[in-house]
Structures are given as C-alpha cells and as structure tokens.
Symmetry: C3
Subunit: 159 residues, 3 copies
C-alpha cells in the first residue's frame, strides 16, 4: 500500500513570522495534493483564538494568562525585531504593499483547502482556554491525534 502524501506541522510558536511560515508551507503542501494537519499547541494556540469572543468566566490564574497572551492572528508579535511593536506593523505593511496574504487570509485559504486545524486540548486545559474563545471550523485533540496523523505523513515539522 502506497503512503498518501501528507504533511503535519506542530505550531508551537505564536509569533507572526513563524505562524506565517507554517501556513505558507501548509497551504503549499495542500496545493500539491498533500493531506495536511496543523496542530496548534502552547503559544501557537493564540493563532486560532476568535478576536471577537468573550473569554467568559475565569479564575485569577486563567485571567493572568489571558492578559499576557495575544488574542487571535491579528495580535501576534514577531520572533525577531519586535521593537515596541514596530516590527509586526512593518511586516504587515510590506505584506500589504506586495499584496501578499495576511495570517487571517492564510487561515481562510487553509480552511478552503481542507487543512485540518487542531487545537491542543491539553494546552487549553492547562491555560484555562475554553472552546468558546476559539474560532469556528477547527478540531480539538491531544497528542494521540497528532501522532496518528504524523505516522501517515512524510513531512512532519515542528515550528
């Protein structure tokens, strides 16, 4: 039995540049017929937050994590050159100037291409993030779901 072409990406980092790279590779792989899974864990989880959602009732610790972490793909910082937030603005400006895709657009394209976007339930439990805070059209799973998909894929990246 031939192995299906597949790509999985663990999106651990929540920085704009790394998340962009993850989606560019994922969308590229999907365009070439790969079955693609992106597994969002730790800081990467912030990418899938729904900007408009209310966080609901939280304990003091969960509130603290909520304040410290960016809420959604439009709020991500850069891994380098953050410079008081100027870096992300510069990158977004360059993206606009070159008519390249923003992260929200890359997410939309990923969903159109049936890329499986999985939010790590263990991280959600640890940091007190609820499903109501997350965007629509994503799946929820733990490390077992990731291992299963990675076994069937040839390209497995951790970003």
């Amino acid at each position: 039995m031939e192995q299906e072409k597949g790509t999985t990406i663990v999106v651990f980092s929540g920085e704009l540049d790394k998340v962009m790279a993850a989606f560019i590779i994922a969308n590229g792989a999907a365009a070439y017929g790969h079955k693609v899974t992106m597994f969002f864990t730790f800081w990467g989880l912030n990418t899938l937050k729904d900007e408009a959602a209310s966080p609901g009732k939280k304990g003091p610790l969960e509130k603290m994590f909520g304040w410290m972490m960016p809420k959604g793909a439009n709020k991500l910082g850069l891994s380098k050159m953050h410079y008081l937030g100027i870096g992300p603005k510069l990158i977004k400006h360059v993206i606009k100037k070159h008519k390249a895709m923003t992260v929200p657009q890359l997410i939309e394209l990923a969903q159109e291409q049936d890329i499986k976007l999985v939010a790590c339930t263990m991280t959600m439990d640890l940091l007190g993030i609820k499903q109501e805070e997350m965007m629509d059209g994503i799946e929820y799973g733990g490390v077992a779901a990731y291992i299963g998909d990675a076994e069937n894929a040839n390209t497995n990246l951790f970003i």
Copy 2:
C-alpha cells in the same frame, strides 16, 4: 520490509516549554509503539544535567559557560513570558494544580518507556561539559548516531 514506527526529536532548545513539548510528543509516540530517540544538543543539553553533580575542574571559559547555563531540568526558563522568572513559576504552579507532569517526571516516564536519550558529544566537547555532570541512564553520541536513527524513523522533529 516494512519500516518500523519511529520518532526522533533533536532537542536544541533548552526552554522549559519547548522541552516539555518535546517530552510530551516523545512519550506519546512511545505509548503508541514508536521507537523513539531524543538527541539533546546545544542548549537542550542542560535538560540532562544532574543537578546534584559537581562540575569538577574546569578552565575559565568552561566555567563561564557553566555559570551562564541552567543546571538540570528544574532550572530551565521559558521561551516566552520569562518576566524575571515569574513565567516558569506560574507554569509549574499550573502543572501542579492540574496534576500534569513536570519535566523531571516526563524524563522518568521516557526512561521507563525505553526512549533513547542521547547527549551530543560535540556540544559537550565545545562547552567543556563532562559525563560526570550528566544524569544516569543516558547515551552519548554525535551527529552520525542521530542520522542513523532519523533514517529509520518516519517522524523527525527539531525543537
């Protein structure tokens, strides 16, 4: 001949959150029957240091590296939100509250599951780290050992 299920992880980073992610994936893969190798190099090497060991005699440069680098899995910082050490304490608090596993417990589980923990000898030579400083039950090897294991594994990550 069918390829055995296998996972290798290069643990380059020495941050608490990334090391946790590495061990969670490794332990998950081992639980699903994968043969797993974790190859600790550069800053990742600090994870395998024995907290109680004496560093022994060192030259001035080796001493300087020794001072600057965390000594063992309990001393690792975070890749984000370090905030004068509050971040790691917060994460450890959350882990305790949720009865999740700490890094030392994840290492123990890895050893129980026969995950191969390899310390990169090249990094040890460069930074003047000796085998007496490292925890028991680990192996020592170079890039050749890693390449060999990666060839036989389907999932190969760099963290």
Copy 3:
C-alpha cells in the same frame, strides 16, 4: 521503487547557533549519502548574503530591513546569551580553540558535498533582497520547490 535517502532543512532562523546546528546535520546527512536540500527563508536568508556585495538601489523600507538584518554568515547573533554581542564572540572563540568549523567553513563543506542551498524568493521579494546581494553557487526557489524535495526525503526539519 525504494525511496532515496534524503534530508531537507528549512532554515527559518538566522541565529548563529541554529544555523550551525542546521549545517552540522546537513553535512552529516550528506556524508552518509543523503541527498540534502537546505531552504533558507525569512531570517535564515541572511546566512547566504555575500558580505562584500553592495546592496544596490533600494527603497526606504527595503533599506530599513537591510540595516536591521545581519549581512552574511559572519554577522549572525545567538538565540541565547547574546549579551551585547559577547555570546557570539565567545562561541567563535570556543570553535577556534577546539578547531571546530565556523559557519562559512560549514557552508563551503556543504557546497563541496553538493548540498542544494536554496534562497526563498518569496522572502527576497517581501524584504527587497536582490540576487546581487547573495553569495554564489546557490539556487532560488519558492515553497513549491521545497515541497517537492521534502516529498522525496525521509528527514525533514524546520530550524
């Protein structure tokens, strides 16, 4: 048909230590008969810049990126312990003391071993980097080129 032994590495990070790790793995894999592709994107692209090249005419945004980013493999910083530039000097000192290879030497070895070094054209377009600024003997390609090589390789890393 048996799959050829292959390794691909996306070099996203531009830090000295991560770039060193990437080249050590790549050169090791090539020495064991792997077909190796290194795909340099985002900050990793700085590794392949020709130190001696003139940047040519640039717009104000492109100039700003030019100022902010290191120019060539000798100018890269560390991911940890940067300490006003002392960290990279210390590492370079240790490399020299142990007669280990510097990044420019690792690049040379990679080229001798026919490792394919690919500069990401999308990043070059976005940041306004021109081919005249890059070192000789490299290839240029986009995500499609990377996906193609990754499909034929067993070990695919993102660094």
